[in-house]
Symmetry: C2
Subunit: 290 residues, 2 copies
């Protein structure tokens, strides 16, 4: 998808990859279905912990193979994301809202023989998410830049590996909220930071960057741009106005990176991943209820 006015605004040719149109509303279905596709037929099923889109994607991928999917979710997970896991055939198990409880909850299912499919720090997941950039490179000729958001880093690492399959150099740039800038800080520091108190509306990008994800990103990604919250909302509005697409805050962060410094993109041919569109639709329309 593209829009002449956005191109004019940036003096660039911008091509949007619409992952909000995936069946579960985000790119997460790519990694999940790749991982599930690799499992043997006699696998009893899969398990993960997730507060968001990965849980729904894994449930969907599992149900398409007839596997059970157990998703450990913090008891404060947002209602519509819990519903999404169930709608896609997953079984939800609530736990206390902390990392230890989530991991313990998952471990219990793994002990019973279920295959753990983590959300991002996993080679199968990274490879699956990379299919998004591979498709863009096939669909649009002559891209010189790929832009993707980074939370746990599955999508950005996969994007970087996909770009590396091309002989011609393609610059890969990441984007994350200022309020969840652990990837940018980790790159600056040369090691994975662990002091991480994310505070951002981009709930899909609150995860700490994964270990193997950071390694791939440090080697292959030019830069991770951090963006303020207001610019994320500006990006959501621009995408709604020009592309008529509903994008969740996390999905709009790569567009926010362009808006933050519009001059930077002049003359480029950029593939931008809109990573997902799962948000509380009632909140979106509430102004029309008044």
């Amino acid at each position: 998808m593209s829009d002449p006015e956005i191109d004019d605004l940036l003096g660039a040719s911008v091509f949007f990859k619409c992952e909000q149109l995936q069946l579960t509303g985000s790119f997460k279905l790519r990694g999940a279905s790749h991982a599930v596709g690799l499992l043997p037929e006699d696998c009893p099923g899969v398990a993960t912990h997730s507060s968001g889109n990965h849980g729904a994607a894994l449930a969907r991928a599992a149900s398409e193979r007839g596997f059970e999917a157990h998703v450990v979710m913090p008891e404060n997970a947002v209602r519509f994301k819990v519903d999404a896991v169930r709608r896609n055939g997953g079984q939800v198990h609530f736990c206390a809202p902390n990392q230890a409880a989530r991991e313990a909850g998952l471990a219990a299912w793994v002990e019973r023989g279920f295959e753990a499919v983590p959300p991002y720090d996993d080679d199968r997941i990274i490879a699956g998410q990379g299919s998004c950039a591979l498709e863009m490179l096939e669909q649009v000729d002559g891209l010189d830049t790929l832009l993707a958001p980074v939370g746990g880093g599955g999508l950005l690492a996969g994007t970087a590996l996909a770009a590396a399959t091309r002989e011609k150099g393609i610059e890969v740039i990441g984007a994350e909220p200022e309020g969840a800038d652990d990837t940018a800080r980790s790159l600056a520091l040369g090691r994975r930071v662990t002091n991480h108190q994310p505070e951002t509306i981009a709930d899909g990008l609150r995860a700490l960057i994964g270990e193997r994800n950071l390694g791939i990103i440090a080697e292959r990604v030019t830069e991770v741009i951090t963006v303020p919250e207001t610019t994320i909302v500006d990006a959501m509005a621009l995408i709604a106005e020009r592309l008529k697409q509903v994008i969740e805050p996390s999905g709009a962060v790569s567009v926010a990176a362009m808006l933050k410094d519009p001059e930077r993109w002049r003359g480029r041919r950029i593939g931008v991943i809109l990573s997902g569109g799962n948000l509380d639709a009632e909140r979106l329309v509430e102004a029309w209820r008044r």
Copy 2:
């Protein structure tokens, strides 16, 4: 575009025609470009009065042929619709916000030799809007029902004429807000009502049904369903949640007609026109600014 959960909800096969993705964000570009395409090369340009999407569409269609477009708009027209006319190359002329002033404003441009292109009560416009249903009938096999919103009636009349090109009977159904139900009342009364004080969030459907539009609709449309305001907003939310599309209230009215009586559509194969997606995007995202 279609969605398995919406199909489940209605027990039907529903195919959405996404007119919000037109260059000017609504189906209006169809009629406008058809009308403009019929004009001779030496035409000095076009003129209309409009408070909304027709003005932007006409400006765009005219600029693509190198014609001037003069759009008389009431001085209380919403800002982003005025901007849209200008962005598409039209010249905006403000007038007092009443029908007499609008018509007088337009007459002044017609006297100077500009071709009047009215928004709906015009054969060229009706034929152009009908191309939307013609495309649906080509794109989806076996549709038995077409559902479109009705304001002035250009789209619904064109849809009915398009359906009549098929040998197999196709039922055409219209939808309008309860607060702008002049078409339903006109059909019940057997003549065009003129007492019309529209009060609805669906600003694109506030126009009074056109004379020739009503004639076509009375002959060929099964029913015009009226929907309450809350159901229109429910429909906007459903479209955002399931299809990830931004649809303006007027564009969501046909979906609202399905939600109003979900049982009615069971077993059908329905083509639904999402007629446009032009709304104040800032209003859409305001909950994320807080």
